[in-house]
Symmetry: C2
Subunit: 389 residues, 2 copies
């Protein structure tokens, strides 16, 4: 039976390999189990680690890379293991894994948090304050923190009022918030997230929209082909911006493309989007306009008649929100309820690595936590048919 458990667990892990590189850190739990194997099991284990160019050393009971270095090294606060750095890089050749995630609490519960750490050292960072806005300022490439992968429904967001600003699920009326599916759309139709080191200042009345900021980092929709991971930090180009007025607040939506996307070189402004992805801007407009209607809210409005402004306008808007953020974190005192703790900024909100680790460790490790069953999957799956007059 013990063998079956390992098999089943391995199979579950393996099935998730293609979509979740982070699951590999959990394999440490499994690989420690294989010391008492027979030939069949040994062959199975080898076939399991072969796709990542590894072999299992049964004598030393550890998984070795092609350079005979251990795949996992201790310790990680989450699983007791961490992937060998070079392997982690090779597993993510298409990603630049400057950052990794540390998930805490029960998934699908109000306790669930995704903390962000540096990929090389494992040091915690705030995705809002510590990740630089620019990945490459000269080439105008921004970092984007992915909060919501395409086609999912859970409304995940950077917790601006919590230390280290982990990603958590929004709560409305004491319930976890999921966006409804408005036909023909399924969940979010882009990878959705935020640009770090930006802030839509709620005291600032925007000239263009006539509304105040929504007190959050600026939102981004990434329109690339790949479905990103929750908590992933990707490099994007800004292509344009739309000015949603969401319940009376200015809520900029920057339109961006992952620089690794096969169309990235051809997408340089919002007009290119309509050329290469016809209908997407219109669908985006409609999506934001109606997405709260199934929850009994009125249709949202847009400034500029719903028109998407160009790249230059988008970059100017980002620069403004970056300036508001700088004023926020450099103020002599924090007059807001926002949490400005940072592990890298040289301001008064800086905390050291040990403090940051303690903040994360106050929360239960997800590896041992039981994901909560989703209360009403059928309600989340429902398709709403909204027709506007």
């Amino acid at each position: 039976m013990y063998r079956n458990t390992s098999y089943l667990l391995l199979s579950v892990l393996k099935s998730r390999f293609a979509e979740k590189h982070s699951i590999w850190s959990s394999i440490g739990l499994v690989l420690r189990h294989v010391s008492t194997t027979n030939t069949t099991q040994k062959r199975f284990i080898q076939s399991f680690v072969k796709p990542i160019n590894c072999r299992f050393d049964f004598k030393h009971n550890c998984c070795l890379t092609s350079r005979s270095q251990p795949l996992l090294r201790q310790p990680s606060s989450q699983t007791g293991f961490q992937l060998n750095q070079s392997i982690r890089r090779s597993l993510n050749t298409s990603h630049t894994m400057a950052f990794t995630t540390d998930q805490r609490g029960q998934q699908n519960s109000s306790d669930y948090r995704v903390f962000i750490k540096k990929g090389d050292t494992g040091e915690p960072v705030s995705p809002w304050h510590d990740i630089p806005l620019f990945a490459d300022e000269g080439n105008r490439i921004y970092n984007m923190v992915v909060e919501i992968p395409r086609w999912t429904n859970a409304k995940m967001e950077i917790a601006t009022k919590e230390p280290l600003n982990p990603i958590k699920q929004d709560i409305k009326s004491d319930k976890l918030r999921y966006v409804r599916n408005c036909f023909p759309h399924k969940g979010y139709i882009w990878n959705y997230g935020a640009l770090p080191q930006t802030w839509e200042d709620p005291k600032h009345l925007d000239e263009a929209t006539g509304c105040k900021g929504d007190n959050d980092p600026i939102d981004v929709i990434e329109i690339g082909s790949r479905v990103a991971d929750r908590g992933e930090v990707i490099k994007v180009k800004a292509l344009g911006v739309m000015a949603l007025i969401d319940e009376g607040e200015t809520d900029w939506k920057v339109i961006a493309i992952d620089v690794r996307d096969e169309l990235a070189a051809q997408l340089n402004d919002v007009r290119d989007v309509e050329m290469l992805k016809p209908g997407l801007i219109r669908a985006t407009y409609e999506w934001f306009k109606i997405y709260k209607i199934p929850d009994g809210k009125p249709a949202n409005e847009f400034a500029f008649n719903g028109e998407a402004k160009d790249r230059e306008f988008a970059e100017k808007t980002i620069a403004e929100t970056h300036k508001y953020w700088q004023e926020l974190v450099n103020a002599s005192s924090n007059a807001t309820d926002l949490d400005l703790k940072s592990t890298t900024l040289g301001n008064s909100s800086k905390i050291d690595n040990q403090n940051a680790i303690e903040i994360i460790n106050q929360r239960q490790e997800s590896a041992k936590a039981v994901p909560k069953p989703i209360d009403d999957q059928t309600a989340i799956d429902k398709w709403y048919y909204i027709t506007l007059p």
Copy 2:
């Protein structure tokens, strides 16, 4: 470590509870592991089985229902366990579990099969030949075998040429077939499947379409709100039918609604669909028209200018394909390469229960099999933007 493995496995299983009732059969594997537990673990196990109104009896090392009956009874060919019948019913109050599934082989591989069994006795059936076309003939309610759940991409279908006609993934050019996402759609936009005991006779030239049948049972799209499970048998009302001409063959698409859907009472003909789900018929037309274009095929055509015919026409078409199926299975000899084995029909293709079980047992049990990583998830996730002239 052992405890962590169980925890992790339990958590994986539990996370799937809401969506997959069938996963509960796997819990048998886990529950046999808890005999050496401490108080914390015991409490954990109790909290785990409480949502299904059970308690774990640590003395006898089994899970008891609220009526103190074992949750699992032996033996099942798949896991060594089967869910207690009454619990299975209570877990599926919203389903009529007249049939269950038995999955074999590696998921995401050419070996993967979903066999169908009777819910009460576990006897294998052919979903094509043994499941009655009508669930309730007087009220014109049909059985539908779900092959492809909404929003998924894997092209699963009843294997008409294999004994017991399990559901398998279609292969094209030696590769597992996935339908592409054509913007704004994600995967199949309905629960897709077939009506049992029907056949589109490839020798029969259809008067209405001028084309021959495609040699398969008739296809159904179920437009209800719920995302169905692969291999599930649901009761549906026919509302209309569209006549797709797919690479020169008549390929009827019956439009149907799950009788349990909240709108089922209001949906009685195809015109009701446009009233209650505006845009769905048009989206369906476009979906079928363009879905093979990303694979280099031309746009599909429809008979009747793409118009969806009404319920009466649909029922007439179903009746015809039922008649062709009857002629097929009642012929004195099988002149086709289709597999007509049946466990319930009184014709020359009848096999007994033992033979049927042996057919299934020739294939590896999925519980121990390792799901294959999907070769190129990114390609499956890609969104194609198709504009027709």
